[in-house]
Symmetry: C2
Subunit: 326 residues, 2 copies
Amino acid sequence: VPEFRRDALSGHTVIIAANRAARPNEFSQANSGARRSPCPFCAGQLRTPPAVARYCLPGAEGWQVRVVPNLYPALRRKDPFAWRGEGSMSSSPAHGVHEVVIESPRHLRSLAELTGEQAAIVFRAYRDRVRYFRDLEQIVFAMPFKNSGPAAGASLEHLHSQLVALPLVPRPVLDELQTFQSCSARHRPCPCCRMIEQELQGGERIVRVTDSFAVWCPYASRFPFETWIAPRDHAPAFEEIGDRGLSELGELMRDTVARLEGRGSVPAYNYLVRSAPFDISSQDHYHWHIEIIPRIAHAAGFEWGTTIHMNPTTPEHAAATLRGNV
Amino acid sequence: VPEFRRDALSGHTVIIAANRAARPNEFSQANSGARRSPCPFCAGQLRTPPAVARYCLPGAEGWQVRVVPNLYPALRRKDPFAWRGEGSMSSSPAHGVHEVVIESPRHLRSLAELTGEQAAIVFRAYRDRVRYFRDLEQIVFAMPFKNSGPAAGASLEHLHSQLVALPLVPRPVLDELQTFQSCSARHRPCPCCRMIEQELQGGERIVRVTDSFAVWCPYASRFPFETWIAPRDHAPAFEEIGDRGLSELGELMRDTVARLEGRGSVPAYNYLVRSAPFDISSQDHYHWHIEIIPRIAHAAGFEWGTTIHMNPTTPEHAAATLRGNV
């Protein structure tokens, strides 16, 4: 049974999930020369649990995107969230939801292989599931994320992403919330609105701008080619995105991943959708955004020990490269 | 010129160090089939800057351990530390010290290949350099750390580690300090002393115990086979370690790395020495320790987005394995 444990010195939370050791790893199989089994995510395999959501393209036959429970979940809804323990040992059942979004019926490897319309359906699935999670008891936060490529922690190559819903707000989100709330308390504009405005004025870290979104390499990039996408107008919660926003975002994500993967710049990456927690009354101050984290350099002892990342690629150089990678 | 930059949303600090892109990477050369140049760290090469410290074994000829400036420093003492900037963009020269500890004159790859006495000299070098950093203006924190193996971020295979001295206290240390100080304020025992006591009572996560030190896999391990080493008696600052402590620690580190690497369990790892900052009046509450982070699983989108690590290996299983890996 997966459980949350809390470290008594740093206060950090981990999930000890021995059940996940058993999950298949296509990439390590590939290394050993043999692919033993058909891809469980390809259409017709039915090697996944029944879908909790299913999307079709208008006029097309069969599904385009399926959302299924994770067969090796790090989080389960069965047991309630409740810390218990003595002394330096606190644990709780790892209450929550852990799902997989299968992003195409075909065995594609890159989001860049989808059309903008197909990519928009992936984000529609995120939106719908997050809206569903928002109403669940004990759930206070949700995050859609993708691991693309073995160096980014993916274990299967078929185009997919994941959804988690948690009974606690992760620390980086609490840190950001504090900034948003403190700006608001001092009657200052949203720091993300201000950041986007400043980036658009300067332009040297901008990758692309559309009607509703900006794509840029952040000033304090932790990773080479780190790229953020955010709505230009203030918007706290991703799941409030409308259908027009989804269309624009789908095309933009497809294009951004194509630029990142172009000329072999980024062989593996993670992205994650950062959105306001559900239970915070001041969530209106938040500004949702997507962080794309290319996995080129390995985080090393310095980064793990300090959380200060050493980045040898300036975001100005990264943005110029990505603007050219059309 | 390397610079600190601060992210306006999360508050995190990064070091943008374009100068580091030029550093040699033996491992990527190895991948492309050719090793172009002799190892710069081997005795007699003199392909490093002059040593800032040098240690010999009693009765032996030549050096055993050398400390040299990093040729591709992420931190430099030249420019003072001072945040400046406007709006969402704050930066400062990356003031600090960045050194390399060459741990053997021979081309060894593992700490387990050293004798306990030789390993103790490495930790003596850490101690002496940290004592030196402690007296530098603007420097408030130092951390010895090792990247072992390419998956841990090492770029050269010759046995070495690194030292950084910083003008700011990294966030994970601030988080821990807060725990230590709040326990003290409530007249409760040091949380690390308490943790060690509880681990010794239970025993299931203990790897080894000596007169002065305990080695264990922490209850809330973020990584498979994560291992901590700490003095059993309360001790805030690593650099106050005495000669007897160094001897015991050298042998213990050698043995612990041998256990981790035994049977191919851990192909790559980082370790870091966590010690009290220099400028905190309440630093007495801290309890120094060493964290060893094996690099078996890749941190993925969930970990980057939440800092909650999913760990498929229980620390109880890891400790039992390490106890057996003699």
